[in-house]
Point group: C2
Chain length 226, copies 2
């Protein structure tokens, strides 16, 4: 894990070890990681474009305040999810998911391609059989794929870009006790209903059933320990 040295710095910043306002210099970085100026600047450039740093002449590299971070960049999401504030990150991602998925389902019902409709139906059916058979591992894979199809079918690239985020949340939910582990029958029904509504181009129904699904998540989120 960890591609380059910038990975280390990125983690330290998102983790809070390097607090906003802290100042580094290229020389610090070169010395610390035993790399050349060229390489150090490369990494800094990345962190800069992720909103974690700003470089100022005669000053150095200043750690940016949290509101400046690109919290939607996959790299940053990854760092946050493996930091000591992972739980908070999961909660925020889940809230985002709750907000977006019903809207995405509605749009998907309007814009989905034929292939996407088939895929949604297929995955919903697969979820049912895997869920009822108790094959949880494979169930989760199908679940992730299902939500990805819906998000992509929305035709909105900003929703589609959240597919990985939702995958992350669905995969990690059990680790944080934010969701029931065993798929509940009503959830299976709701997935079916969403798939059918998307396939039959019924936006309101698609939204309603997806709303049901995320409301379950919301409830689990609210009753989970702070």
């Amino acid at each position: 894990m960890g591609a380059g040295f910038y990975d280390v710095l990125g983690r330290e910043i998102t983790n809070g070890v390097l607090r906003p306002g802290s100042v580094l210099t290229l020389e610090d970085i070169q010395a610390r990681f035993g790399i050349s100026r060229t390489t150090a600047r490369d990494g800094v450039k990345v962190l800069e474009s992720l909103g974690l740093l700003t470089s100022r002449r005669r000053v150095g590299l200043v750690v940016s305040p949290r509101p400046a971070w690109n919290v939607y960049a996959p790299t940053v999401i990854g760092w946050r999810l493996t930091s000591s504030h992972a739980r908070q990150a999961y909660i925020e991602l889940t809230q985002l998911r709750i907000a977006v998925e019903p809207e995405a389902a509605e749009l998907a019902a309007l814009r989905r391609s034929g292939a996407q409709a088939d895929e949604a139906l297929r995955l919903a059916a697969q979820m049912r059989s895997l869920g009822e058979a108790g094959r949880l591992e494979e169930f989760m894979v199908a679940d992730v794929a299902f939500h990805r199809v819906v998000l992509e079918a929305s035709g909105n690239s900003m929703f589609a870009a959240l597919a990985d985020v939702v995958a992350e949340v669905l995969t990690g939910r059990t680790q944080h006790g934010l969701m029931p582990e065993t798929p509940m029958p009503e959830a299976l029904d709701a997935h079916d209903a969403v798939a059918e509504a998307v396939a039959h181009q019924q936006p309101d129904r698609a939204r309603a059933h997806m709303q049901f699904l995320v409301d379950e998540v919301r409830a689990a989120l609210e009753e989970s320990p702070a």
Copy 2:
């Protein structure tokens, strides 16, 4: 406008002039912009971290497919909004806003600080007086500030990060005919209601009135020409 050469390339990619799969080389870039390899690599590094490019040895710099783009990065949003597909970008941003703001309002009612409550009330009142006086320029400023406060008060950094996006959408809405230009009385009432609900910590009410506001936007979006 346009910070460095990477700005030009970023625009060409998001615009579709440089299509996904196209291949550049560092030498191409150096020659085209008359810059050194170091500088060229700096820019490439940025475009890479925005998901617009991937560099592969022995091949060059390959323009990434659209799903790989970091469409939430402020830079990319800016490029898309000034590209020839600006309208599509606006629509997507607006849909995102529609999805997120009701949820943010609900959370804001639970988590807002005292100062944020005061600010929301103040801005709502200001919107009313400015709106009724027909001072549209200043009205829009207050409107933007209002929505920013709510998003920030949600306590979710991913919602807060959308404040600039919403500002962009609100500012640019008249240019795209996606919203009525004159603030309608019901909208003023709804803003007031959201502010009060947030101040009095009534999450359901806050959500409902924000929902009313974005439903107006949704309606305008649906009846606008494709």
